[in-house]
Amino acid sequence: MLSAKNLDVRYGQFRAVRGVSLEVKQGETIALIGANGAGKSTLLRAIAGALPIYSGELSFKHKVITHAASCDRVKQGLSLVPEGRRLFTEMTIEENLLLGKTINRAGDWDLDRVFDTFPNLVKRRHAKAGSLSGGEQQATAIGRALMSNPELLILDEVSLGLSPLVVDQVYASIEKLRDAGTTIILVEQALDRAIAFAKRAVCMLEGRIVLDKLTADTNRHEITEAYFGLQQSATQEAS
């Protein structure tokens, strides 16, 4: 579904993502794991079109989208829930959600279904997004992405800054999405949660992918070593 070949993403001279190749199949759930600064968010933002791709090729549903504008990628069915939520804080929840509907892709996500999925938003419907709690904001951000009826949903650090209880709620709702067959890539710092949620784990270190295995075939120990770059063999496996 999504295919990245030798992606390079740079901030000026700095290569934040170095020669990353990644294949994502329809219906897969992938956990992207790595330390701060490993290039996870950069990779995801480049895939969503918020950052320019320096070199390499990115295609989605067999169409090359390497240099497509981010709104065109949303049109094709690729949606990112950015790190830090990035809501339009001066607007109400409902307005934020409706903005997600700008690209009117066919599908069954609409306001009612988002409010069914995140019942805690219903009573705050007309509240300014800036006045919400972290959990409500995150739910709004996910709901906004879902309103475009994406085929591939990318979630960047959805549990950042949320209390464990709220994280459980957020995960309960994205598990529903996963079980409904939505293809999901997510970044998650809590390793156990990531392994439990995703079928495949991709670990990044210093801008490269150092481990790419099904979660069933790997374990916490192996991922931890890849995370810190301890395992020499892991680097070789990937290359």
Binding site: A48, G49, A50, A69, S70, C71, V74, K75, S79, L80, P82, R86, F88, T89, E90, M91, E95, L98, L99, G100, T102, I103, K128, G130, S131, S133, G134, G135, R144, A145, S148, G161, L162, S163, V166
Partner: protein
């Protein structure tokens, strides 16, 4: 005194009309368009040309000019502003300043130094007045004031309640995230510029109807628009409306004090507001502050 005040409010309607396009562009595109006044004069000339050649009423000519101005706005954004704004905040200011000089001189070359007016094409309307409690109130200034209210109200409703307005606000707030939710920021910027230029077309016509204009009349229009915008606060269009009226009142008071005080009064109130905005709390200017209702800042809590 009352008479001056009423006339000032009517003049303020014109200032509000010319300022709202400038403020709209600043608000939604973060661009200070220094060619604003010259474009208003350009539209006044086009209206005059059409009126003169086809013997239409200036109001009909204005309707023809609106799509032309919209196209000019769209081109302005695509060809000039889009590229200029990639070079930082200062570059669009310099570029539009250059553009205003180009427009002024092209107009001068083409139309010469004669002053023009649309007033002669509307017959009696240019001097007809209502008598209210012993005051004479010109029909035309009333029409212009009402137009300003309609235009600003329309823009406000558009921004608040329509999907397009929502997308414009989202793009103004955070263009990158707007792109991520599927908003085509280029398209939105082009539409915003087109809308702003349509208001310029209306204000150019208003200028031509209420007085005379020549090729170099753009600079004072820009100045009045800019002062009204700063006085009213660039954040809200209704603020700009009241900014225009405050400016006009200050000018009239200036003129009462001294025959040459008209412009000085306006500059004085402009500078007062400018410094007040720099040094005083933002809340100071909101209605809420003056109505005594406490502003409840909702703190962002992460749970």
């Amino acid at each position: 005194m009352i008479n001056s005040l009423v006339q000032a409010i009517l003049l303020g309607g014109y200032y509000a009309l010319i300022a709202c396009g400038l403020a709209f562009m600043f608000q939604v595109m973060r661009i200070i368009n220094l060619a604003h006044g010259s474009l208003a004069i350009l539209s006044a000339y086009i209206v005059w040309r059409i009126t003169d050649a086809l013997a239409f009423s200036p109001f009909v000519s204005m309707l023809i000019v609106l799509p032309i101005m919209a196209l000019i706005g769209w081109l302005l954004q695509r060809v000039i502003l889009e590229r200029a704004s990639k070079g930082g905040e200062l570059l669009p200011v310099l570029t539009t300043f250059g553009l205003s000089i180009v427009i002024d001189n092209l107009l001068f070359q083409h139309f010469g130094a004669n002053t023009r007016s649309l007033a002669s094409y509307v017959g009696d309307l240019s001097w007809e007045s209502y008598e209210v409690f012993g005051l004479w109130i010109g029909k035309l200034p009333v029409i212009i004031l009402c137009t300003a209210i309609v235009v600003i109200g329309g823009l406000d409703l558009l921004l608040r309640f329509t999907p397009l307005g929502r997308q414009i606000r989202a793009t103004a707030f955070d263009p990158e995230t707007a792109g991520l939710v599927g908003i085509d920021a280029r398209k939105i910027a082009g539409i915003s510029a087109a809308i702003a230029m349509m208001t310029v077309g209306i204000s150019g016509t208003a200028l031509g109807l209420r007085g005379t204009f020549d090729a170099y009349a753009g600079a004072p229009q820009l100045l009045f628009a800019f002062e009204a915008t700063i006085i009213g606060g660039a954040g809200s269009l209704w603020g700009v409306f009241f900014g225009g009226i405050i400016l006009a009142i200050a000018q009239s008071v200036g003129a009462l004090i001294h025959p040459q005080g008209f412009l000085l009064g306006g500059h004085f109130i402009f500078l007062t507001f400018l410094f007040a905005r720099i040094y005083l709390n933002r809340d100071f200017f909101t209605l809420r502050h003056w109505l005594g209702k406490k502003t409840t800042k909702v703190e962002q809590h992460e749970n």
